[in-house]
Assembly symmetry: C2
Homo-oligomer: 191 residues x 2
Amino acid sequence: MDLLKERILRDGRMKEGNVLKVDSFLNHQMDIKLLNEIGKEFKRRFSDEKITKILTIEASGIGIAAIAAQHFDFVPVVFAKKTKSKNLDGELLTSQVRSFTKGIVSDIQVEKKFLTPEDNVLIIDDFLAKGQALMGLIDIVKQSGATLAGCGIVIEKGFQDGGATLREDDIRVESLVIIEEMENGTIQFRE
Amino acid sequence: MDLLKERILRDGRMKEGNVLKVDSFLNHQMDIKLLNEIGKEFKRRFSDEKITKILTIEASGIGIAAIAAQHFDFVPVVFAKKTKSKNLDGELLTSQVRSFTKGIVSDIQVEKKFLTPEDNVLIIDDFLAKGQALMGLIDIVKQSGATLAGCGIVIEKGFQDGGATLREDDIRVESLVIIEEMENGTIQFRE
């Protein structure tokens, strides 16, 4: 997706520890026009699937998933929660996720009633690196008995092993851009 | 907003302690068509303002704000973060917020560069009860030097004092529905 590559090269910022900051357009401030193009591209890639529900995880996946859902016949979006609030009172599906940017392990949870065996689920998230969040979401889809159509990722760090591991497990992962290498202040995309 | 009232009466669930659960369509699972109608209604109410940025807070405000932004000429959406991650490295605007559902006080933060004195900001959130989150967001807008156009709220609990306090302070608050009373399993809306 050239538009996205150009935007990453223009506005992304690299930091120590293979961190790519895209907070000016994707996950702190959100460029809604860009999100619309991202949603269209997810639809193009998953046009062979009849998606009935989009699953994502708070917080940065939510805006991307909500805008994308408009291109999938306005299917409902469910977002997994990272903290247990008093408001989560139904039967829960939970999975454990390690966050490398935040340095913690936490439970993520989805109320069971929002994912049913009749659902064909598209998982959407902003980043794929080691794949922890995605594996947690996939685990929750499996627990629900729903079918997993695949995962739509905005930016995959191809030099980390999450994407490869998931594809070896026959999970369909569609990443709009894959970064092959981030070194010396330059970004190489995978062709 | 009749569509929203009907949906609350049909799918909302009341719980002890004046809790109204709308997680099947607003803040865990999101009905994207409904969110679009909500966005249109915010635009209708703030059509006299030239909004340049929408500010919300993770997590449940994000989907609502992202969809609403499409009706405000696709202005950028910024969401305040509740946890401090390694990824927040710029100069921050912070404010303290007490969450009654989660029982904790926490800092919320926005990178300073995303709100400028040239901005005319619309704050959007799902609920207004005691107004803590909203007051934190308003504080952040004030610190940034931006102009606050007002606050667009999906559901206000009129029997709690947040809305009244804010309006006394001359903050423009537009709530799409205001609940006057929730008692004995019935909901009374303010006309």
